[in-house]
């Protein structure tokens, strides 16, 4: 599957949806700081990986898909929820990158400069997340091909006469 940049998603979003995301992200970040101050960095650090983007994104994907299908006279609830689920599956893969980011900051920060560590950790996050996604795509495609082959072999084993008919029909066509 090819990775594409599609700006139509931007036109679907309304201004208040961006405000909600900004407010939610800002509140979670401030809360993480307050929690760290009261309960120490060990508890506060957990909140650096709090799901701040996913809930809003999944809700908006579902909403936009329902609106899009509604315009063409279809019922889009099921496909909207499926699309939101696919986005969440992507986030689950991205979490491996998030853990890599944290690992680099934990190990490197005490000895290196802050800017260098943040750049290194961000690049590593992106590479790990994209790497996991590509690997999953490859495995998924290979598995799908195997399942397809398995089903066609089983179909031939169950109805050998129909496959013979098909082959003879092909021969006649030639």
């Amino acid at each position: 599957m090819k990775i594409k940049i599609d700006t139509t998603g931007l036109h679907e979003s309304k201004w208040y949806e961006y405000v909600v995301r900004f407010a939610f992200g800002g509140t979670v970040t401030a809360l993480a700081g307050v929690i760290a101050k009261h309960f120490g960095p060990e508890i506060g650090g957990l909140f650096l990986a709090f799901p701040a983007i996913l809930p809003a994104t999944a809700t908006l994907i579902e909403k936009h898909e329902i609106e899009k299908k509604h315009e063409s006279g279809k019922h889009g609830t099921a496909s909207g929820r499926r699309l939101a689920g696919v986005d969440a599956a992507g986030a689950a893969m991205g979490c491996i990158g998030l853990a890599v980011f944290a690992l680099i900051v934990w190990k490197e920060l005490p000895q290196s400069s802050l800017l260098l560590v943040l750049v290194e950790a961000t690049i590593s996050w992106l590479m790990a997340a994209v790497g996991v996604w590509l690997m999953r795509e490859k495995l998924w495609r290979r598995l799908a091909r195997k399942i397809h082959t398995f089903h066609s072999v089983r179909a031939v084993a169950r109805h050998p006469e129909s496959s013979v008919d098909r082959n003879s029909a092909r021969g006649r066509e030639k």
């Binding site: 594409k4 961006y18 993480a32 650096l48 809930p55 696919v86 969440a88 599956a89 992507g90």
Partner: protein, 130 residues
């Protein structure tokens, strides 16, 4: 510690400033990553940006400036456990949305409990006893 009313007032002012700074930085990073996710296709790839280190990028600089590198490093160690909890949360959200077609808002909101449960259980198992 200074208990004079001027000192207390100044400390409160610094705290409010710090919170405002965190709100702005967090809002900017979260909005930027979710905007990036909106632009990309397929959706499974765009979803990677739903787990971007937005809060960490917004706070690490401020934390280092206020409390030093060691403090921020300890936070990052706990962040690994938070990321594992996030992975469990996102996986369950995706299963419930794809298989059972639950509403997105209700699912993502209700399963936050799973994130809290996993994060604190991991913290207790790995760091809590030491």
């Amino acid at each position: 510690m200074c208990l004079h009313s001027k000192c207390v007032h100044r400390e409160a002012q610094v705290r409010v400033k710090e919170i405002i700074l965190r709100v702005i930085a967090g809002g900017v990073f979260v909005s930027a990553f979710s905007l990036l996710g909106d632009l990309l296709k397929p959706k499974s790839f765009a979803g990677l940006f739903g787990a971007a280190p937005s809060i960490a990028l917004a706070t690490v600089t401020l934390t280092v400036m206020e409390r030093g590198k060691t403090y921020a490093s300890v936070e990052a160690r706990s962040m690994i456990l938070g990321a594992i909890a996030f992975c469990v949360y996102a996986y369950l959200v995706s299963r419930l949305l794809i298989r059972h077609r639950w509403p997105a808002l209700a699912t993502t909101a209700a399963l936050i409990v799973v994130w809290f449960g996993c994060a604190f259980a991991l913290w207790y198992a790995v760091l809590g006893r030491s």
